[in-house]
């Protein structure tokens, strides 16, 4: 299961420096074939740099990486032959028709005319672009543009596709459809490396990694991450407090001994509390402050909780180290 022959991506101690600045600092992870790997992190944390290193655009300052069994250091062109890549803005030529865009990318990857025609038929069947083949891609809606872009990235039947923020600026229906498509394709053994800012999308990934200021601070399945000791320290548990006046409730919740942290989520508060603080006791204390409490129930952490928790821990550690 974890042997390197099977891995779609194997990154070992990746380092990338730009002068004195270390953009990627000792990053290691393995992506299994057929997985949907969610790569998360704030802007400027090194996500794009890692993608550029894995696609052979950026030489490694240290470490090793192999993509589909090809050593990125030795054969960066070979990597680019075999992978698919879809950039944030879908990178379509808007003054070209759907067919022409597909033909262009097919030729880029050196597909023979017969294979191009066959692949185009398959792609069209998969993404339903059939009725729009002769339309300029400028006239397509965001969701269709994205499907076309994905089609272009997959013409040459790559086993691994990098999707950089594939759903930015796309309506919710199209987002849902894209994910359905990704699940279907991953069922056929295709691996997806996806960056995203949407936490609900991160939850859908079978494997998630979180990069923060060039360091990988989380790597595992969403469930594994929820169980991390940093996220769920010994002797604590999470609760959701639903209250009509959330901000008022939050102000008082933070004063109660036994509540380690609390944040607002919509109409409720997510709080990390000590094991010895009983739910009944918590309710009583809040009501003593005049907070009307509708409901308190235990909660397992969301991925957002996980990343917020990990990030604040890091920040605190960094401040301690520098100050």
């Amino acid at each position: 299961m974890t042997s390197n022959e099977q891995a779609a991506i194997s990154a070992e101690h990746l380092v990338r420096r730009f002068g004195a600045f270390t953009a990627v600092n000792d990053v290691s992870f393995t992506v299994q074939q057929g997985a949907i790997f969610g790569f998360l992190g704030p802007n400027g944390s090194g996500k794009t740099t890692v993608i550029k290193m894995l696609t052979g655009l950026l030489p490694l300052s240290g470490g090793d990486a192999s993509v589909l069994g090809i050593d990125v250091r030795k054969d960066p062109e070979g990597v680019r032959e075999t992978i698919g890549y879809m950039s944030q803005n879908f990178s379509l030529y808007t003054d070209l028709t759907v067919t022409e865009n597909l033909t262009f990318y097919g030729r880029i990857y050196g597909l023979s005319p017969e294979r191009l025609r066959k692949r185009m038929d398959e792609i069209v069947e998969l993404n339903g672009l059939g009725p729009y083949m002769n339309r300029l891609s400028a006239q397509l809606s965001g969701g269709w543009k994205q499907r076309l872009a994905l089609g272009c990235a997959m013409l040459h039947e790559p086993k691994l596709v990098f999707l950089d923020e594939p759903t930015a600026g796309i309506d919710p229906v199209a987002r849902r459809q894209l994910w359905d498509l990704l699940f279907e394709l991953s069922g056929h053994g295709i691996t997806f490396f996806v960056t995203t800012h949407y936490m609900d999308e991160a939850e859908r990934c079978g494997h998630v990694a979180y990069i923060y200021f060039g360091k990988l601070i989380a790597d595992g399945t969403p469930d594994e991450l929820r169980e991390l000791p940093d996220v769920q320290p010994q002797g604590t548990y999470r609760v959701e407090i639903t209250a009509p006046q959330v901000t008022f409730a939050l102000r008082h919740a933070r004063t109660i001994a036994g509540i380690r942290s609390a944040t607002i989520f919509g109409q409720s508060i997510h709080a990390l509390i000590d094991d010895n603080l009983e739910l009944e006791h918590l309710r009583a204390q809040l009501e003593r402050h005049g907070v009307a409490v509708a409901e308190i129930r235990p909660l397992s952490p969301s991925l957002e909780d996980v990343f917020v928790e990990l990030t604040t821990k890091r920040q605190a550690a960094q401040e301690a180290a520098s100050g």
Partner: protein, 374 residues
């Protein structure tokens, strides 16, 4: 091994589609140079033609009418007014209606018939020195020519052999012949450099360039694929400019048109490479526009197009060797005006080809590095 031109045919296919789709831009970028040619071709005319001229012909006989015809045929004068006294002749010039007044005396024909010297009064408005100079030269020349013809007809042949009226008088000396061949170089630069620079910067703006770099396309394949369709367009533009020059401006081409077409290819290649180099630096189309204009100025001022290179200060003279237009202007003037051939011009063509290759290699390297450091 890795094919350095990987992706060339795909990019070529795509670029031709872009060009076809954006026909309006293409049309205007082809038409505007022709319009510029008209403006400059007529505007930069340093030879003075069609000067408004008033005539007081007191004689009115056959000989006097012949003289007027000769003046008219020189193309320098346009006789737009006839008067019948000295006062009106003066007034026409003073009022600015005419710049030149010609008075043929009443005894003009008589004096000629009696082998005497006939005097023609030429009044010239001196407020425009170039007009005045031209008028003096041409009228004197016509007078001299006229006298010579009469001397040759009536005296013995010894006189005629030493005199060469052609040298004294050249009614065909037109400035378009000198300006338009040079202008071709500047106009071509306009189309080619701008179009290529824009086509790549547009891909940067749209983010499609980023996508292309993650495909197996190699920088050289990308750049040549982009360059070649525009080489075709640049060549087409050259054909249009040369046709307009030949047939509309009546500039005779003394050398081989085929050679001119062939030697224009390295020049178009240089201008395209320059556009690509610009696009490796510029991030927006406005930025590309500014940089492209920067290349136009040396092509106009340091190429010998306006100021002869020989009279330039040493520094600019040396600088002119680095301006591609210098070589191409030598090629166009050489072929069109002097009838030069391959033996005279191959060095210029080689210099252009070398420059183009160098620029393209630098551009390809810059694109490669840009991806790496971005």
């Amino acid at each position: 091994m890795v094919n350095p031109f990987r992706g060339f045919s795909a990019v070529f296919y795509k670029e031709t589609l872009h060009v076809r789709r954006d026909f309006a831009t293409l049309f205007f970028s082809l038409i505007i140079p022709i319009l510029q040619m008209f403006l400059l071709g007529y505007g930069i005319d340093t030879n003075i033609r069609q000067i408004n001229t008033v005539v007081y012909n007191a004689d009115g006989r056959q000989e006097s009418r012949e003289l007027l015809d000769r003046l008219r045929n020189s193309d320098t004068f346009r006789i737009n007014r006839y008067v019948s006294n000295d006062q009106d002749l003066n007034d026409a010039i003073i009022s600015g209606k005419c710049r030149v007044g010609i008075k043929i005396p009443v005894d003009y024909s008589d004096k000629l018939l009696h082998q005497m010297s006939a005097q023609v009064l030429v009044l010239i408005d001196g407020s425009d020195s170039s007009v005045a100079g031209q008028a003096i030269n041409v009228t004197t020349a016509i007078g001299l020519d006229e006298s010579l013809r009469r001397v040759l007809a009536n005296s013995d042949a010894v006189f005629a052999v030493d005199m060469r009226p052609k040298v004294l008088f050249n009614p065909d000396s037109r400035s378009p012949n000198f300006f338009l061949p040079g202008l071709t170089a500047v106009l071509l630069l306009n189309v080619t450099t701008f179009l290529t620079a824009f086509s790549i910067v547009r891909e940067k703006e749209r983010g499609t360039l980023e996508q292309l770099f993650v495909t197996p396309v190699r920088p050289m394949g990308l750049l040549l694929g982009k360059l070649l369709p525009y080489l075709g367009i640049g060549f087409f533009e050259l054909v249009m400019i040369v046709s307009a020059m030949r047939f509309l401006f009546q500039v005779p081409i003394h050398g081989s048109v085929v050679l001119l077409a062939f030697l224009s290819l390295p020049y178009i290649f240089v201008s395209l490479s320059l556009g690509i180099l610009i696009s490796s630096k510029a991030t927006t189309q406005a930025h590309a526009m500014q940089l492209a204009f920067l290349t136009i100025l040396p092509s106009i001022f340091f190429s010998g197009y306006i100021f002869p290179r020989e009279t330039m200060p040493k520094f600019f003279y040396v600088l002119s060797y680095f301006v591609p237009a210098t070589y191409f202007i030598n090629i166009t003037r050489g072929i069109i005006l002097r009838g030069a051939g391959w033996a005279h011009l191959w060095v210029d063509a080689l210099a252009l080809f070398g420059m183009g290759t160098l620029l393209l290699v630098i551009a390809a390297r810059r694109f490669h590095d840009k991806v790496i450091t971005a």
